[in-house]
Symmetry: C2
Subunit: 145 residues, 2 copies
DNA sequence: TTAAATTAAGATAAAAAACTCTTTTAATAT
DNA sequence: ATATTAAAAGAGTTTTTTATCTTAATTTAA
């Protein structure tokens, strides 16, 4: 098991990909995204549909249509994608799955994991969707394999 | 989604529970463990069967039988339970699910998450199964709800 | 105004994870 | 020896996640 669900992994890779390809204008099709991030096309379509509804990517139908990200989206934090897909469990949940785990009534791992969760949260809140465009264009970062 | 699978959450809670109940001797039955950590009994039985094979808990059949942990197990790191159940993906995998993500060919989140993974790993390597016995007995820590 | 391109939506399928139930095996105590 | 207790093992079900396929709805351009 990874940190995120498979759906969320695809979502993140797809949004980074779209961001990189369209931050200067243009559109990119589901097909090209699926190839670009090595994901199942139809499954990805579903995921992007959902992100599109939430405004975490933009889309246009018809010829010359496709997905893209606008200025504002570029500056939204990566945390919003994770939260849209996987919920906030990774930021606030209990490591041992207890519903009522808290400062007051903690599980054995509560304090240690609180720190780690907070780090994950702040990391994802402070990095934005468009933050990797350059590295991706330069080929320093990878989104497939 | 939590950090660990549900199976792993049950495993951790169960082992902490058994440790607490038996570190001074005695046995505890699956039924009592299931009640004590609020988990499905038969499902937990499977999980403990597996942990028992791997020596991460001890078991005895028959009257006065049940599960327990011996001296050595008390001092084994919690990481071994996680690894036995969920594998090492949480310690070494890529946040975006890429197989070949590495220092050389990193995904956009590689460096940030490397740090976090390492923290999780070292946290779980340095805390041992028996480390919470006192807190559990005193009721400072909780394993259900 | 029609054909082509492209996402949206819906229905279904396959795989994995979570959970249940029944039978067998082993140990103990009487 | 036998009955009883408790885990081990096996088979099966349900739910969730992941993936596929088909059709509908929009948009554009000729």
């Amino acid at each position: 098991m990874g940190l995120f669900s498979k759906t969320c992994e695809y979502a993140l890779r797809a949004v980074f990909f779209i961001s990189q390809k369209t931050s200067e204008g243009g559109r990119v099709s589901i097909k090209d995204i699926a190839i670009g991030i090595d994901s199942p096309e139809h499954f990805l379509a579903k995921i992007l549909q959902d992100l599109s509804k939430r405004g975490l990517v933009q889309s246009a139908k018809g010829p010359n249509g496709g997905f893209f990200v606008d200025e504002i989206t570029l500056r939204r934090p990566v945390a919003e994608i994770v939260e849209a897909v996987d919920g906030n469990g990774i930021f606030v949940g209990c490591a041992l799955g207890l519903k009522e785990c808290s400062e007051k009534d903690p599980c054995p791992l509560h304090n240690q994991f609180k720190t780690i969760r907070d780090e994950i949260h702040s990391l994802l809140r402070t990095t934005n969707i468009g933050d990797f465009n350059e590295e991706l264009i330069l080929g320093i970062n990878s989104l497939k394999r």
